[in-house]
């Protein structure tokens, strides 16, 4: 819809002004049959007034209809489907939690089956990050599972409300947070599968490093079980614990390790908890976050995830700076620097040169600001162009990840607006490739620089990026802080990961990570369909990306009515 067309709305009163003020003629005609004319005038005066009023209304309607036509207004409801029942099953990560001995998700499926028994004309969807149609047979045979994806109720609701169902059953686990701010329309029935029960959650409250041991303080709001994992530059430990309220896990750990990365996950947890710790208190170095994004909502950009990854831990000081105040700070001993959506001025230039000269690793993310292109130019990287991207899911059923899969998880969808297309060169080493062959993250090893060629957009649709961004940043940090990067890589590289499967086939219907041709790893993200393990053709990518919902095109009908009203006006003028 083109809202700028409504700038013409004030013109609606133009016919009224003309009607009320209307230039009165100054001319007088001495007319001998005046009495006769006066008689006719009196007889038809009201008729003419009504006709003028009608003419005014018709003219206003013409203007209004024209404005609506120019705005290309489309109604949200699809004209094809006006009835039927939609069933939405919340399949987000949190539905993996248990209620008694049964997963919430299973309970949701049972409710959906009950509805299906009573309703013939029903379509079923699962709702995690996006709304996905389900095969009823898969649902009945319990082939459908919850996903490692954050719930995005708003996006799913917007999608299903456009489908024009007369009735929608929304079966969820009862966690209300994801539905905040959503006002459901009539015909929507929310079914709480947990029947109002309070969910148990757990989190890392603190970490203490002692000689040869690590103490992890865990807290929860009820009885729960978690899996924990401690990684360092020399070792990797895993375990499970069950507790209620509070617990302390003491783990013997290799005393030579300089740092630790701690993670917990569990059935009760909404999302995984990360904790990053430098074991040695003297090993205190500075991580600089230079965030140039204009966002006034800090948790909606990458800086939030950086802080989430680093600030809760110990051993790092975070220095968040804006360019105007950072002069004189360059003597600080930085361990790592982040330049998010950088500007380009003398300070930034000085900063970049300083980091490059000191061989301090730099992470640069692209954005709307001009600094990204300028820094790339400084680093000798050519930008071929910028691609507007609506959704990477449509573009990329498969990620190619030659480097990172630290926790062996399926990566979530990444939503971005722009992707900078980089000219391949010998100095550039891709870290994450898109299946189209474009690097989304690449490294310049000689200069110790990481470049993210895209940026998260500024609404909640970027939320899933947290799950890839946080471990990604930790990985980059771990790899860059010390010279013994190779050793770390040896301990946590994807090649040792359990989920890695040699892929000889061209298609796979099982979600997971696959290795092809030794280095390339493909993630199949859609468990309901077979996914290509080869890159899509560029033509298909283009078609998929350009598909948009258009809805019922009201403007075409208003254009027709504009014509009819113009005809009516000419009839009235006669």
């Amino acid at each position: 819809m083109n809202w700028s067309a409504f700038y013409f709305a004030p013109f609606l009163i133009l016919p009224i002004i003309i009607h009320l003020i209307g230039k009165k003629p100054e001319r007088e005609i001495k007319f001998p049959p005046f009495e006769l004319l006066k008689r006719v005038y009196r007889e038809y005066k009201w008729y003419l007034k009504i006709r003028n009023l009608l003419l005014l209304l018709v003219r206003m309607c013409i203007l209004l209809l024209f404005i609506i036509s120019a705005s290309k207004l489309s109604c949200g409801l699809s004209p094809e489907k006006k009835e039927g029942v939609g069933i939405v099953i919340d399949s987000s990560y949190s539905t993996m939690t248990f209620d008694g001995n049964k997963r919430i998700f299973k309970k949701e499926v049972e409710i959906a089956k009950e509805i299906l028994m009573k309703t013939k004309d029903a379509k079923v969807f699962k709702c995690s990050d996006t709304l996905t149609s389900l095969f009823i047979d898969d649902l009945l045979n319990e082939k459908v599972e919850p996903e490692f994806k954050s719930g995005n109720a708003r996006r799913c609701y917007e999608a299903i409300s456009r489908m024009g169902f007369s009735e929608i059953f929304w079966i969820t686990d009862g966690r209300k947070d994801g539905y905040e701010g959503l006002s459901f329309k009539e015909g929507m029935k929310i079914i709480d599968a947990s029947q109002g029960k309070k969910f148990v959650n757990a989190w890392i409250d603190g970490v203490e490093i002692k000689e040869g041991a690590v103490a992890i303080h865990l807290k929860s709001n009820g009885k729960t079980a978690v899996e924990w994992e401690i990684k360092s530059n020399v070792s990797n430990l895993k375990g499970k614990t069950e507790f209620a309220g509070e617990t302390l896990i003491n783990v013997l750990f290799h005393s030579d390790s300089d740092w630790l990365a701690i993670k917990i996950k569990g059935d009760a947890l909404d999302a995984d908890n990360y904790y990053f710790v430098a074991k040695n208190k003297t090993y205190k170095r500075l991580v600089g976050i230079f965030n140039f994004s204009p966002s006034e909502v800090p948790h909606l950009d990458e800086a939030y995830y950086l802080k989430k990854a680093l600030a809760t831990g110990e051993g790092f000081r975070i220095k968040e700076k804006v360019p105007s105040t950072m002069k004189g700070d360059l003597k600080d001993e930085y361990a790592f620097s982040f330049l998010l959506n950088p500007l380009w001025n003398s300070y930034v230039k000085e900063l970049v040169n300083f980091f490059l000269n000191m061989k301090i690793p730099i992470f640069i993310s692209a954005g709307e600001n001009p600094g990204f292109k300028e820094i790339c130019e400084l680093l000798g990287i050519k930008i071929r162009g910028i691609k507007e991207v609506e959704s990477f899911r449509k573009l990329l059923p498969n990620f190619e990840i030659p480097f990172f899969s630290l926790y062996g998880e399926v990566f979530d969808e990444i939503y971005v607006k722009k992707l900078y297309l980089v000219e391949p060169s010998k100095e550039v080493e891709p870290v994450i490739l898109l299946s189209s062959g474009e690097p989304i993250l690449f490294k310049i090893p000689a200069k110790n620089v990481y470049i993210l060629t895209t940026t998260a957009d500024l609404d909640w649709s970027q939320f899933p990026i947290a799950r890839i961004f946080t471990p990604l940043i930790i990985d980059i940090l771990l790899h860059s802080l010390k010279d013994d990067v190779k050793e770390i890589k040896g301990g946590f590289s994807e090649k040792g990961g359990k989920t890695l499967v040699k892929a000889d086939m061209e298609f796979s219907a099982v979600p997971g990570l696959y290795e092809k041709d030794e280095k390339i790893i493909v993630a199949n993200l859609n468990p309901t369909e077979e996914s290509l393990l080869t890159p899509m053709s560029s033509v298909k990518l283009e078609t998929e990306a350009s598909k948009r919902y258009t809805g019922f095109q009201v403007w075409k009908y208003t254009l027709l009515f504009t014509g009819i009203f113009l005809l009516l006006e000419s009839v009235l003028l006669k």
């Binding site: 001319r27 007088e28 001495k30 007319f31 001998p32 049959p33 005046f34 009495e35 007889e43």
Partner: protein, 289 residues
């Protein structure tokens, strides 16, 4: 000729023009087509009437003068001659139209008057306003005074036709009245006027300007009463259809009223050539007779 007449070059020229046109039209008409019902002097004595300026002094009844010291003329009747009273409506309403109605009436009266005089009728010219006062035409030679008087006619304000009737009744009984008017009076006055003409032989040449029948040619404007201050804002495009019908109805009603009162009704428009109107009139006159 009245001394009020101011004979300047313009009037003289106009009078000549009217005379030439009258002669031309007469030449074009068939000779003998029109025969007068009454015209001029007769031999049979009918009555005495008061002497008026222009009367032949040979008609004065000197005996009666000896008895009463009043100058009276003997009115004699010749059944082949009549007194033709050409009466022109010179009210403001006649001063309208691209082809001016009053101008048209003057030209028409000039032509018909000339025809009358040519056949030895006595032609009398009167206007509703009474100006200029003209004596009946005594002879063909003095008839140019008639054209001079016609040339001097100008529109006058707020004239009531009923006043004019009083003067008409004082004239000879062998009178034929030929009225040139647009008849734009209030309905009541018009009907009263027509019924007052009962007993008098009268013809009405109803003169209409083209712009009066169709108002679509005008832009939106204030239409004003030419003989008053009242005005109304009219969009002629919107009202024309209804006005045209009302005007047509009014014309029909007028014709009926004239006919009912024994008159001959001739409708003409200022765009119609004088020759055609005269021919039409004479034809209708012959048919009627």
């Amino acid at each position: 000729m009245n001394e009020q007449l101011h004979l300047d070059e313009e009037i003289l020229s106009k009078a000549k023009g009217l005379y030439i046109e009258a002669r031309k039209i007469k030449g074009e008409l068939l000779t003998g087509h029109h025969k007068s019902k009454i015209k001029g002097k007769g031999t049979d004595f009918v009555e005495l009437r008061e002497y008026t300026n222009g009367d032949d002094i040979r008609d004065i009844d000197w005996k009666f003068y000896g008895r009463s010291e009043k100058l009276m003329v003997k009115v004699k009747e010749d059944k082949g001659r009549i007194d033709l009273l050409l009466c022109i409506d010179d009210s403001y309403s006649m001063d309208f139209g691209k082809n001016n109605k009053l101008e048209y009436a003057v030209r028409l009266a000039g032509t018909i008057g000339y025809l009358g005089v040519s056949q030895s009728d006595r032609v009398i010219l009167k206007t509703f306003s009474g100006f200029p006062e003209v004596p009946p035409s005594p002879s063909k030679e003095a008839f140019f005074n008639f054209f001079l008087a016609l040339a001097m006619i100008k529109p006058k304000c707020s004239i009531k036709p009923l006043k004019f009737l009083r003067d008409v009744n004082a004239l000879s009984k062998n009178l034929k009245v030929l009225l040139f008017s647009d008849m734009l009076y209030e309905e009541k006055i018009a009907l009263e006027f027509l019924s007052s003409l009962e007993g008098i032989e009268f013809d009405i040449i109803h003169i209409v300007a083209d712009e009066e029948r169709e108002i679509a040619g005008f832009e939106q404007a204030f239409f004003k009463d030419p003989e008053g201050d009242e005005k109304i804002l009219v969009d002629p495009h919107l009202l024309n259809r209804y006005y045209r019908k009302a005007f047509s109805d009014w014309e029909k009603n007028l014709e009926e009223a004239v006919t009912e009162n024994g008159g001959l009704y001739i409708r003409t428009t200022t765009s119609i050539p004088i020759y055609e109107t005269v021919t039409n009139y004479l034809t209708r006159l012959g048919t009627r007779r």
